[in-house]
Subunit: 342 residues, 3 copies
C-alpha cells in the first residue's frame, strides 16, 4: 500500500463533500514576527498591542492575511495539489481576529463542479472555513481551481456552478467585537488620510518596491505549511520556482501602507486573480483604486472597497490590454473591503 | 593574552573529562515558528497545542530535532571547532519534551580517544547531555569526530574505544509522561496509516523535494548558535559554504511527513552518517525504510525503527555501491526510533 | 491630494521641532528568535532567561541593538527618507532594558541645522528617543544626516550646530535596575576574560566571518520596519541593494563574541561612522580596540569603552590611510561603552 498522498483528482470530488484538512496549527508571536520580517508590514493595529487596545481590541491580532495563508495552506494537499490553475476567489470574510496562541484548522465544502470540454480537467469550487480552538469560524472564502483528471474514463459529474456575489455588500462584513476607531491615533498610524479623504475612482501609486528572493518566498510559503511542489523543488520545475500567489498578495498589501496606512483591517475578499506568475528577481510594486465606500454601524469606522494591483514592471494604473487581458507585468488584481477611521 | 577561542585539539582531550558548554539558551515560540519557516514541518504534535493536548501533553513541544540542534550547537566550540569530520552518532535518546520557555544547556563527557596512525589526527568520542532549567536531562547522545592535533609531538593517549549499542532496544526508549495515543485524530494528523500498517523492510519514497538556499541554511545554523566557520564564511571556504548536517536531517525528517505523518515523536537515535556534503542549490529529497517495529507499554503507542536517507539526486532506495560505499548523491543515512499510534 | 509620503526635505526641518514617529511596535520572543537567526548572537545575557536572572534581571532582555534598530527604523520615514548620507551618531544611551511584550515608539527633536554651501543639501541633527508603553525612555541618541532640499529657493535656516560629547563619561551611563555581576558564571558565558584582563590600547581580532546574503539583510531591515528604498528595490538602485548600516553593526557586534563574550550589555554609543557601503556577497569580519576602562558603582560590574571595526576584507587593525580616510575595506567604525564583570 502506497503511503504517500497523491492528492485528489477531478473525479474524486462530489457536490456536498466536506474535506477536513489536516495539521492544525497554533499561531504565536513567532509567526507574527516572521510576518514582519518577510513583508514590510506597518499597519499599526497589527504592529502594536497598545494601538490595538486603543481601538477596542484586547491585543494586536495576527495579520488578517497571515490568518488567510494559514487556512489556505491547509487546503493545498486536498484541493490544489493536482491543480493546473488557481482561478478565482469570492465571498471571503474575516469573522474573528486570530490572536497569538490560537489554533487554526480548516475544512472545505465542494459547492461546484464543471468538467471541461477537453475531458482532461475540470473546475472545482470549494467554500473553505478556518476555525479556531473554540470551533468559531474565523475566516471563510470560496476558491475555484482547475484540477486534472487521473482517470480520463471517469464520467463527468453533473455540472453545478455556484452563484457567487460579484462583491460582498457592506452589510455582509463583520467587524471584531469591540472595535472602535473614535480614539484612533492618526499620528501613530502614520498617515492623516481618513475615510472621508478617499474618493471612489481615486487611484494611488504605492511607490515602494521589493525585489524578491528565493529564500524569502520559500520561508513564507513553508510557514503557512503550503506544500505545493512548484514553490520549492527546482528538479520538479527546472524553469524556476513559482512564487506562491499569497506571497504576492501580502507583499502588495504591505507595500500599500504608503497611501493606505489607515486601511487597517481586511474584512472582505470580493475577488482576485493571479494574472501572471512571479519569480525570484522580480520587483513587486503595487497600486490601488478605490472601488466603493460605505458607512458602517461601528463607532468611528468606515468601509472602503479597494482594487489592489501588484506588478513586476510597467507603469502604475495599467491593467489590461485592448482585448481585456491582463498585461504581462501585472501579477495580481485583488478586490477587497477594508475598515478605516472616518 | 589572546582573547579568542582557538578550540580544542586532539591532545586537549582526556578520558573522563567533562566539558561544560557555554551559552545557555531559552527557546520560545519564536524558535518554534522559525522551525516551521525553515523546514516543511507538519507533524501535528509539534504544530498544534490542541493536538498535543489530545495526546496527553500539556502543549505542543519544540520539535525534537530543534532541541537536538540547540544542544548540538552548544558543543561545537568545544568538540568540533577543529574537527576534520563528524564520524557518527549512537545511543541518542530524547528523555523529556522541551517546551517554549525552557532554557537548555549542554555538557559532554569524553568517553573515547584513539590517535590515528598518521599521528596528525585522532578520534574523540563524547557523550553529550542537554539539560533544562530544572537540571533534567532532556536529550543525550554519543558523537564521535576526527580532530586535528595542534602539537604533533604530544604523546598519543591510551586508546579507549567505547562499546556502543548498534541500536537502542525499545526498552531503552523514554516517552513523555502522560503520552497517550488512544484518542489520536488521524484525520487531523494527515494520514490514516497506523503502526500496524507498516511492515519491516517496507520502503517509502517521500516524493517531495526542496532546493536549498544559502540564506536558509545560515539562518538555521545560527539559530542553533552553531559557530562552525565552514557554514558561514566564503573567505574561509571559497569552494562553497558547507551546509550544517543537521539542516539536512531536519529537511529530510520534515519531508518524510508525506508517508510518515504519524511517526510523530523521535525518541531514539541509533546511528547516522553524513555521507556526502550538501551545498546551496542542491535539491534535498528523502526516502525511508522500516528497520524494526516494537510494541510499547504506552497507551495506544507503538515504536518504529526507521532508516531515513536524504539525497541530492539519483533514484530513491539506492544507498551504496558494490564496495559498500555511499553513492555520491546520498547526503544522509540516519537510523532512529519514532513513536506512532497503533 | 497625493496620499503617499514623500518624506521631509531639508527646508521642512526647524530647530526645536518634535517629530512623533509612526507605527509603534510590540516586540516579542519572535523578534528575539529572529535576532538569533539573523546574527551569530551568543552573549549569554540575551540568550538565557536563567543567566539573566543570575545577573539580577527578571528575564533575558531583547538585544540592545535590536531595540536600537526598532527605534531607528521608526525614524527613517521622517528623518532619512531623502537623506544622502548618514553622517554620525553621538550621545547614545540605553536607559531601560526592553523585554518581550514591550511596545516601543519613537520621537525625535531637531537640535541642529546647517545648509551646505552648494545650496542643495543640508545637515540635520536630531535627538531621538525610544519610549516603552509606560512612557519611559528606553534609548536615546543623536544622529545627523545630510538631507536634500526639494525647493532650492527655500531660504537657508540659521546655522545651529549642537555641541556633542566626543564620548560619554562613565557617570552618564545607566545600568538596568538590579544588575549585579557578583554571581556571574564565566563558564556559561563562554570566556574567562574579565574586565581586569583587558588593557587600554589592546586590540582583538574576532576571527570569524559571515558572507552576507540579500534575503538575510532584507529580512532584518524589514523586521525593524525600516522603509528605505535602497535596501529593497533593485529597480530603484540597479547597481545593487545597499545593506542597512545597522545590519553591519549587529553582525560585527555578534561576531565580537569571540574575544568579548563578557562585554554583555551595550550602554553607551559615543560615535560611529559607516565608512563604506556593504553589499550581498561581502564577508563581514570584525576587530576591536579597547579605548578606555572605568569602574562603576554597580556590584561586580566594570565599564569598557570599545572601538568596533567591521571590514569586508583586508587585514585586521587597519583603519585609515595616510590622509586619514577610511580604507576601502572598512565598513564601520563604532565607539561604544559596554558592561563587563570585574
Amino acid at each position: 500500500m502506497a503511503k504517500t498522498n497523491p492528492g485528489r483528482f477531478f473525479e474524486d470530488y462530489s457536490i456536498g463533500q466536506v474535506l477536513h484538512h489536516a495539521v492544525p496549527r497554533t499561531v504565536t508571536n513567532g509567526e507574527r514576527a516572521l510576518y514582519h520580517a518577510l513583508y514590510p508590514a506597518r499597519h499599526a493595529l497589527y504592529s502594536s498591542d497598545e494601538f490595538a487596545r486603543n481601538c477596542g481590541l484586547p491585543q494586536s491580532p495576527i495579520d488578517d492575511l497571515a490568518a488567510f495563508h494559514v487556512v489556505f495552506g491547509k487546503t493545498v494537499p486536498d484541493v490544489s495539489q493536482n491543480a493546473v490553475a488557481n482561478l478565482g476567489y469570492a465571498e471571503g470574510r474575516w469573522l474573528k481576529p486570530v490572536y497569538p496562541g490560537d489554533t487554526l484548522r480548516a475544512e472545505s465544502e465542494v459547492i461546484g463542479l464543471k468538467q471541461n470540454s477537453n475531458g482532461k480537467t475540470g473546475v472545482v469550487w470549494v467554500r473553505t472555513r478556518g476555525l479556531n480552538q473554540h470551533n468559531e469560524v474565523v475566516i471563510e472564502y470560496v476558491r475555484w481551481v482547475m484540477v486534472r483528471k487521473s482517470d480520463l474514463d471517469a464520467p463527468a459529474p453533473e455540472t453545478v456552478v455556484p452563484e457567487l456575489k460579484k462583491a460582498l455588500d457592506v452589510k455582509d462584513l463583520i467587524a471584531p467585537e469591540g472595535l472602535d476607531f473614535t480614539q484612533y491615533d492618526f499620528a501613530q498610524a502614520g498617515e492623516a488620510h481618513r475615510w472621508g479623504d478617499y474618493e471612489i475612482g481615486e487611484t494611488i501609486d504605492h511607490v515602494d518596491g521589493v525585489t524578491v528572493e528565493e529564500a524569502e518566498h520559500m520561508l513564507a510559503t513553508r510557514l503557512w505549511q503550503n506544500t505545493a511542489k512548484v514553490h520549492f523543488d527546482l528538479t520538479f520545475r527546472p524553469e524556476g520556482r513559482l512564487i506562491y500567489g499569497g506571497h504576492v498578495i501580502s507583499m502588495a498589501r504591505t507595500l500599500s501602507f504608503n497611501g493606505l496606512a489607515n486601511a487597517q483591517m481586511i474584512v472582505g475578499l470580493n475577488g482576485g486573480a493571479h494574472a501572471n506568475p512571479c519569480f525570484a528577481g522580480d520587483t513587486i510594486k503595487a497600486w490601488s483604486e478605490v472601488l466603493d465606500k460605505a458607512e458602517t454601524a461601528i463607532p468611528g469606522v468606515g468601509a472602503v472597497r479597494l482594487r489592489m494591483v501588484a506588478t513586476k514592471g510597467g507603469a502604475p494604473f495599467e491593467l489590461k490590454n485592448e482585448d481585456g487581458r491582463y498585461l504581462p507585468n501585472v501579477l495580481l488584481d485583488l478586490d477587497y473591503w477594508a475598515l478605516m477611521p472616518i
